[in-house]
Symmetry: C3
Subunit: 156 residues, 3 copies
């Protein structure tokens, strides 16, 4: 029982990168991985283009203010109006670290389970149609079930 469960609460580029670097490492070692996207974390699996979804005023505001997808996340520190984030992305490219969207695709392909928290979707007014393909929807019970079967569960 060496399954790993990550509760990805954050949409900070650095924390999301760490999550997927570890996830891909675990998958390469034949370890099962479940990533549960909650609260800001659901932005990681949003589609990049806007979808024709009907929303109330609040949901529109949240949707507009939050980053749309893995390509638009920012560093938690030293973002400096985007300069730091771009520096980090450039350096990663130079050092041959895959960019985040590719790390996410690799993890998915290698069999990671992606579960999006329905309560977070509801509160933030994000519809299923706005999420990338291949994600499941789930609630607290799903998360707890996964963590029960894991020897490592991390809140990120």
């Amino acid at each position: 029982m060496d399954k790993k469960t990550f509760l990805l609460f954050s949409d900070d580029l650095d924390k999301v990168l760490a999550t997927f670097v570890i996830a891909n490492g675990a998958l390469a070692m034949d370890t099962e991985v479940t990533i549960f996207f909650a609260f800001w974390g659901i932005n990681v699996v949003r589609k990049e283009s806007a979808r024709p979804v009907k929303k109330d005023f609040m949901s529109k505001m949240f949707g507009w203010m939050m980053p749309r997808g893995a390509g638009r996340l920012k560093l938690s520190k030293m973002n400096m109006f985007g300069v730091g984030t771009n520096m980090m992305k450039q350096v990663m490219r130079k050092k041959n670290v895959k960019p985040l969207p590719e790390l996410i695709a690799s993890a998915k392909e290698a069999g990671a389970r992606f579960v999006v928290c329905t309560m977070s979707m509801d509160v933030m007014g994000i519809a299923e149609d706005e999420l990338m393909d291949g994600v499941e929807l789930g609630g607290v019970a799903t998360f707890l079930g996964e963590s029960d079967q894991s020897n490592t569960t991390m809140f990120i």
Copy 2:
């Protein structure tokens, strides 16, 4: 052995909400839950009204600058001088998610153990009389003992 231990280090409204949503979910599934309140996290269990406690200058400063109780926490992101936090609270009400103080009361009632870190209290100059009723005081040993008995321990 499916006990869950949360080290609640943060007093960000979003992270505290996540903690208590998960805690209530676990309790509903007959899982034992211990929440250890450390550092900023002790603000979550402060009484809302000031108490007549004698304090030195530093403790007064900390007490004055930190939020007093679960009703006064702010989002870690998009707080926007309170606008974002209020939006989130409004949306939660509309979507029938219980407000944080009720989630805390539910968890307590359902048997969650609330332990407040004595070292944090000491450093921040918070007296026992300033904490909500029904919390225990404890130290690192208490936390480690709980985590030893848990299959999931998360730093939040």
Copy 3:
């Protein structure tokens, strides 16, 4: 099997303090502890003085902007241009809590394993010569191996 593994991702003074208070507590109870320093966390184990290391432009920028060693970290909240951080350090001294550099030295002496993430070093352009003595270098596989052997793994 009550080993504890901490993935120290942050270089916020408060979170690093919490890590080492818990680590020292665990070590005092004869529990094995591994601390994995990743991303901002590698700043915790940087030497305080600059080293004559050749770097490209980006690495120089990162090196210059990030705090050099445990003595220069800042609170995640209420830093207030250093005033809050200094207040916290003063209060800790008054309350006889060891300052962070001493907590780190104690943990090392008591046998904690310090592993620094090589990918983070590479991306941030930190050379081995810039790290404090006695740290090991390792990657995701090392972290996963440690967490497999631990009953508690926390992302901090």
